[in-house]
């Protein structure tokens, strides 16, 4: 009985070894570095082109009785997006490739490492990668005067939570992917979230039906949470957004590790 209890616990050492594999990939040559760095630029380019560029045409924006420059409104959303895309890139493309083509996990499961430890390890790594983006992005925001340094610090843990949620979701989706054609589908979905989750315009401006629909999707909650903290507007609503993301993360990891056991340990 005791052994079952001990064996069913997630071992930090084995989770660490799963993370270590990705560090090993960084040590093995430049190719993975290029993958890591390329993911950073997209949200930054949008911030500059839309937030600053289009923002110059729009001027000020009033949301919930607060007036702010358009770039200040868009920047926290791009921060949330960069946490999302860092985590998703790792848990979809890379995770799927390791699962389906490189058979990496098959090799790992021949060792004492268990499916849940793979899922947790890959998720932690996805967050490390996502956090690399968000830290740099926060520094850019501070330098551009789009966020107070203190609120930037407060927003950082929120971006980690965003990474957790999208990492869990990405992994779960990856275990269901049949092939590359499904990635096109996912890309479209991700882009739709990116455009409509209160990123470039407040969701209150949408028709009610659309607004409710958006409030069901994850990036909306990520953007609201991160934006609230960046602007220093605290409220109970933030806890609700955070709870949504926590549930999504947990469900994703649970589902992914179950699917891993089913497909690899049949």
């Amino acid at each position: 009985m005791m052994t079952t209890l001990v064996a069913s616990r997630v071992s930090p050492g084995r989770v660490g070894a799963v993370i270590g594999r990705n560090v090993g990939a960084l040590r093995s040559g430049p190719s993975y570095w290029i993958v890591l760095l390329s993911g950073f630029f997209e949200p930054l380019l949008y911030l500059l082109s839309i937030g600053v560029g289009v923002g110059a045409l729009i001027g000020e924006l009033t949301v919930d009785g607060r007036t702010m420059p358009y770039a200040t409104f868009v920047a926290p959303a791009m921060l949330a997006v960069s946490a999302m895309s860092g985590a998703l890139a790792e848990t979809t493309f890379n995770f799927f490739f390791k699962l389906k083509y490189m058979k990496t996990f098959e090799a790992v499961l021949a060792t004492p490492v268990r499916p849940i430890e793979i899922a947790v390890g890959e998720l932690v790594w996805a967050i490390v990668r996502g956090s690399l983006y968000t830290v740099i992005f926060l520094v850019v925001m501070v330098v551009m005067g789009l966020v107070e340094p203190g609120w930037a610090l407060a927003a950082f843990p929120a971006t980690v939570l965003v990474g957790l949620a999208f990492g869990g979701l990405g992994m779960a989706v990856s275990t269901l992917m049949r092939g590359w054609q499904d990635f096109d589908l996912m890309g479209t979905g991700q882009f739709a979230l990116f455009l409509f989750s209160g990123t470039f315009s407040p969701v209150q401006g949408y028709p009610v039906g659309v607004e409710v629909l958006i409030q069901l999707t994850p990036l909306y909650h990520a953007v609201e949470l991160v934006r609230g903290l960046c602007m220093g507007v605290l409220g109970w609503g933030l806890l609700g957004h955070a709870a949504y993301l926590v549930v999504l993360a947990g469900a994703g990891v649970w589902f992914a590790s179950r699917r891993l056991s089913r497909t690899l340990c049949d």
Binding site: A7, S28, L109, P112, L264, C265
Partner: protein, 311 residues
């Protein structure tokens, strides 16, 4: 541990939906033994290996590895196993050396110890000069050697090799056999699947022949030959084969213990090849060629599992 079998299976069954891959087998593998699973494709060898490797749960039956229950003690058993799968699943994102270091870490070894073992094993499988390079440019034989080195990082008590030399050229095979033989000399228990008879004869102390998910024969290579074949085989070819084959097969009846007509030749299983040759001559048959050879495991294999092609 002494006297206890390393692998103990009773009534082991694996089903995938309606399909039965392993239909109830019993196994006892002793420490230090080199044990082989022989059989055509689809015989259930790989499914059995995956159950022994604790990555696949038995549908029914009892399976104990290293004295532990395969279903409940999976991680603890796997900690002491080395697995060399049929298809190489080395990590192409990592260098040769990093493949070993990373893998050692899954077993909870410290970074320093992992590095030390990686270097030692690269030496053992003669890949030290490729340590810093990626896996992809390696030849098939090199990759397989690296996979075997990877299976050794945790200094396993039991090494599972699923078709270790399939697809390799003769030089690579012999080098691999020699390395595996050294492992065996060190006292490591080896369990392998193969459909190469020469490999089974080279490496295995004892083997089972599987067919259709069951064990159809068991013993040492020599005892299997003695039980299921004869000491020698005479291969006789006649002009006008294959059409005339059946007629000649009839004419050869009684020369040996068994006659096996093939499209291009007739095999006669005999205890004494020279006596059989004399008898063939006495019967006035005029073969276009005759070859007397020792019986091999291949004869046993084909006798037990039939000549029908399985895919």
């Amino acid at each position: 541990m002494a006297g206890q079998p390393l692998i103990y299976a009773r009534g082991l069954v694996k089903r995938f939906g309606e399909f039965t891959a392993v239909a109830g087998i019993d196994l006892d593998v002793a420490p230090g033994e080199a044990f082989g699973f022989l059989g055509p494709n689809g015989a259930g060898k790989s499914s059995t290996m995956r159950m022994i490797g604790c990555v696949s749960t038995p549908t029914a039956g009892e399976l104990r590895i290293l004295g532990m229950d395969a279903v409940h003690d999976g991680p603890r058993i796997r900690a002491r196993l080395g697995v060399c799968p049929q298809l190489d699943n080395l990590d192409p994102d990592l260098t040769v050396r990093e493949n070993l270091v990373t893998y050692a870490r899954y077993f909870g070894l410290s970074r320093a110890e992992s590095r030390r073992r990686a270097d030692e094993l690269l030496e053992f499988v003669q890949l030290r000069d490729r340590a810093g390079g990626k896996v992809e440019p390696l030849s098939g034989g090199m990759k397989r050697r690296l996979t075997i080195a990877r299976a050794m990082v945790n200094e396993p008590d039991l090494v599972l090799l699923d078709e270790p030399t399939t697809g390799l050229d003769p030089q690579a095979r012999h080098l691999l056999w020699e390395r595996l033989f050294r492992l065996k000399q060190r006292g490591t228990t080896l369990v392998l699947t193969t459909h190469y008879m020469d490999e089974a004869e080279q490496l295995c102390d004892r083997l089972v022949v599987m067919d259709g998910g069951r064990i159809v024969a068991e013993g040492s290579p020599r005892s299997l030959i003695e039980t299921y074949s004869t000491a020698e085989v005479v291969e006789v070819r006649f002009p006008g084969m294959p059409e005339a084959g059946a007629r000649y097969a009839g004419a050869l009846e009684g020369v040996g213990k068994r006659v096996d007509p093939l499209p291009d030749r007739v095999l006669v299983y005999v205890d004494d090849g020279d006596a059989a040759l004399a008898e063939i001559q006495r019967r006035g048959l005029e073969p276009s060629s005759v070859l007397v050879r020792r019986s091999t495991l291949e004869d046993v294999f084909l006798h037990l599992t039939g000549r029908t092609l399985v895919d």
